[in-house]
Symmetry: D2
């Protein structure tokens, strides 16, 4: 079944394997008139590139994007944008051994069960390189949201249990510039150094680490999200959980709500004197969404990433002939994928928010009349 | 925008408000030949009925279902099944006051922002009664899965931080019969009693509580789930997060993976001597899903529910005229919705698993040939 | 597979069999704020009722609609509208014989092949009563379009080759009032009388007749339709061809274009001095659609309906035991379905136009900015 | 709104403009295990190439396809197939003049109305080159259908009113080899020569011609099509009407049914002694579809194409400044698009039939049990 399309009005279709000729995405439904060029996309793609630090693979992946359609005179035309990144540095020989067995924690076994065989080179379609298409599309969504004054910001909240001091603090208290430039993606220099030390230890142990990525949407208008199944939080959950290695999704207070009381978890509404007659909330335990619809406050979500399954310790598994074996994975593998996944979370969030923002434009007849009756 | 349809091949469309004439669902794409009658649906609906215990509202909602189409000679015909539950015990006078202000933690404000006005009676479309349609559909999905030997079992794992002893233990060690008959939905009598005491305390404090619902899918075939966006876990996340009051979703080890190491989080594959040449895993940190595709082991997920927002303490809020006010909600409200939501989680899980199970039937040309070439 | 949902932003899901408890539809995505009551729906349903003339079955089907959700204080709320029509006059005994064989021209055989068995009472899901759901939804779409100044008008253009004098003439030259009140649905009294005589002859011959229904959309804004697959004409074709018994679909000049020349088929653009600086066309061979997008002129389409397959002559067929037999169908059957199908064509057209009208609202970033940035 | 995706389980997403860097398609949901290479695709693309005859443009478009993903070891993997054709011979200078005005019969005006501006080079997205993506996808669908013994065959039935002798005759009586090699695509040499003479006359008149393309699906299994909206004929209608320049769609007897009687239009069922206990029809007025579901006989459809709107005569139109002007189009334009569109009709038919064939696999619980319970 076709599973590589996401979104309704703003719709992305990704394609590509780790070691095929290339990776890409078609973005359909992008409104006409957005100024856009390849540098806009490339700047997003560069944020997920490996080789930035010792905690990412040292492969030299240039990942240069080419826009093949949908742009004319520097603006989007309303027709599909096709984007292509050629695979250049992959060597199939690196991966020939794993053709015969199932790596623990990877999708080798499930792909074989589903499709009868698999492209085993570098994980094929289940490789992290699959996210290139998501990020290229996310760059467009983020730029379009920015035109509406909406910004999406993701960062690493925790690595291996080492967490930034006050995860729920206002966004402006976080050092996002630090996050964009250090090897962990954490918006706090001190915590980042601790996390680096932890990752160094993991590597010495031939082990890997997981982490938490948080994402916030600022200046979000109220009213976005379509009950009862196309709720904003439901779609964000699907978007984020579709990223490889994510095993949990939280919105607002997330897992804490199950042990909270209503008196502390409810957010009071208050009129904001500073903003002209605007209804605001005094707290934001809900993470900006009530009944599946944005409430005008900041959207806060978190994704929990599992540790990289490719570790260099000996592991038990079975081969395609149904024999128990012990294997030791070779090659180049990140001890953690979280820093490179920050921009992926940001991208999937932007894509989802934009799609529902467009859908919300048709919710009231008075607005439709304004649009069509001049 | 239309948001009340869920699923692709097995598709449900729910409708109805708390205080309108009725609530219901259309189930489309149900395969022909399933023996089905109203008692099958009613037994599921009865599990979400209020009035079972002191922790649920004492409203007398009979919630009798009528099947209006799609059945002939006791079997599904392959055409849409329409199911209707009349609203009988609702009194609009109970809710007239809340028309004028926005209850904290509810969707009153966001519905007004989105649609310009709202059906304020009993929460309208955002009422918990909306889940009647989900559960009626879930009863069908669960019965169909049972025909394939697949069972879906949900239960309360925790209430207000009070958790059953070993949440990850094998399903057969849990007392599901206990869970189906006590007022908490917990599969452990002792914990349930503790939770009851806690809830009693909440009620005395005019407060409410949240909790965790776990759900397991047993005897799941491998290969189900469609990368990269229609992954099994991504769709389960959307399904569960679309339920009102859910603020976090976990699969397998869930939030724990972000602080784990690869060496402990990876599940080893081993041949199972007891099952004829079957590949199994020695542990199940992944919760039965690898790369978005079922791996043949048990699927385990958890949903975190926030405390009921309707509490009887005084709360700050604003009214529709934009004035700051203090309110005290009246009426009948569950101090916790978790026990009644167990069957909702079970239903949404069954619906999602079934839909992807059907989608998986088209993944290989050899299987398609077997189907069409006699 | 689920096949009973149509539309994207304005989405309808129909259900129901001829002889089940009822027939209905869920309309999801209807914008909030539309004044609507059951009389609005009933007036549309009454137009497809049998018993109006001797050319329609003499069954007494009251077909009273009940709106079960989505309305509050006389206006749509933006949530799904569920509508129910109880089946009241059906007698299963009428149809027991046809359980054993396949009526020529009906879907009996194909339903058996697809689903393994069928609800044979009155044609089950493939009965003309299925269109009740479409018409109830069409009433809403038409009312909403009327709020935007757009009107949809269908009528019978021809019966058994007897055609109204100038089928492509301006709508205002047709006598739509006549069409709404005579038994043929033709907007020309003289032609209608000829068609009646023809139908009388058909009935005497124990035979049936087909016909053409035309539909026009007036005051259509330009820009509606989404290339390259969700074009306005492509979606209209699907909508109309999904109506039982339609075997051909035409837009504008339709089948005539294949023998025309470009010089005569092209429509010239001209500035309209009467309308302030509006671009118009001097002719409308295109039927109001260029490149799949509305061009601001009238949309004209036609549907060709086959003769009622239920005729009272002896016919050859096979039974479920695979034996060649000769049958003679009994019961009450219209010699033509066209007059009753006029409102069905009008409904499906309205639904399709409205859905694409909503989709078009997101095509330009300047319009999106106007919507969200105050 | 996103409009460039077609299909559900077998889903194609096309992209590209006439004069952008390239044109392509992503095919998602192709079952794993189909032997496939670029030559399979190229042979289809070559059938729509210009330059084959004097009735097609003399542009030298090589249209070489590159498969970028979804293939491993010569077989489809079940993941998306991305295919790219670079635009090589386009010169923007050819088209600079038409930027300022609206060509009659083209989509220039409607694109401007919808998107605010347009890529005017060679028609941009509304160019006939858009069909490259459809044809590349169609090649895959056709190959997969062939594995199931199903063949799809399109050909030119008529040009400018000049029609092959017996359009409804059995497929084996048509000279398809002739059709594949002459400049008209007609399966009858004599008629083809007449049509050529007619086209020569059109060119001398600086005019253009339309025509009819017929398409047949042989060896179609019964049971395919999903009532009531995803009917096989409804989806075929959408697929075919989405092709540029198609203004009418017919299935089986098509427009003739509206003047036929039931006694002649009904197809009798008979047991076929030659095929083991198979139910067949003695005639096929229905075109292989009853109630929206395939009946096991040949599917026959027809598409009516309008004459090429680009003619070299003087034409009246308006420019972007709202002035009435007279223009004379220059450049290279086919006097008829029908011969090159034959493979497009064949492709869209194959894609649609395959998608519904896959959907039908989930219609019965006994078949689902056979699939999952070993």
């Amino acid at each position: 079944m076709a599973g590589s399309t996401f979104g309704n009005l703003f719709k992305i279709t990704t394609w590509g394997e780790s070691h095929g000729p290339g990776i890409g995405v078609v973005v359909d439904g992008c409104p006409a008139g957005l100024a856009l060029n390849e540098a806009d996309i490339q700047s997003f793609l560069d944020r997920r590139k490996p080789g930035v630090s010792r905690y990412a693979t040292q492969r030299n992946e240039s990942d240069s994007v080419e826009i093949l359609s949908g742009i004319f005179e520097g603006k989007t035309t309303g027709t599909p944008l096709s984007m292509l990144v050629r695979n250049t540095s992959q060597k199939s020989s690196d991966y020939s051994e794993i053709a015969s067995y199932y790596r623990p924690g990877h999708a080798d076994y499930t792909f074989d069960e589903k499709y009868g065989f698999r492209d085993y080179r570098g994980g094929g379609r289940s490789s992290g390189r699959e996210t290139i298409g998501r990020v290229a599309a996310g760059a467009i969504a983020a730029k379009l949201l920015a035109e509406l004054g909406i910004t999406v910001t993701a960062y690493t909240q925790a690595i291996g249990g080492i967490e930034i001091p006050d995860p729920q603090c206002p966004l402006e208290l976080l050092d996002i510039n630090e996050a964009r430039n250090n090897p962990t993606g954490m918006p706090d220099k001190e915590t980042s150094l601790k996390a680096e030390a932890y990752l160094k230890q993991c590597m010495e142990n031939l082990d890997s680490a997981g982490g938490i990525i948080a994402c916030r949407v600022s200046n979000m208008p109220a009213g976005v999200g379509e009950p009862v199944f196309e709720k904003l939080d439901a779609n964000l959950a699907k978007a984020i959980m579709s990223i490889g290695a994510v095993k949990a999704f939280e919105i607002g207070d997330g897992v804490k709500v199950s042990s909270a009381n209503g008196s502390s978890n409810n957010d009071s509404f208050r009129m904001n004197d500073n903003v002209n007659h605007k209804i605001t909330k005094t707290t934001n335990h809900a993470g900006g969404i009530l009944g599946g619809i944005s409430d005008g406050s900041e959207i806060i979500l978190r994704a929990h990433f599992k540790p990289t399954p490719s570790i260099f310790q000996k592991q038990d598994t079975v081969n395609r002939d149904g024999e128990n074996i012990t294997v030791q994975i070779k090659g180049r593998h990140d001890p953690i994928i979280v820093p490179r996944a920050v921009v992926v979370v940001e991208s999937m969030t932007a894509i989802t928010v934009l799609d529902l923002l467009l859908q919300n434009m048709t919710s009231r007849i008075d607005k439709i009349k304004q649009f069509y009756i001049k």
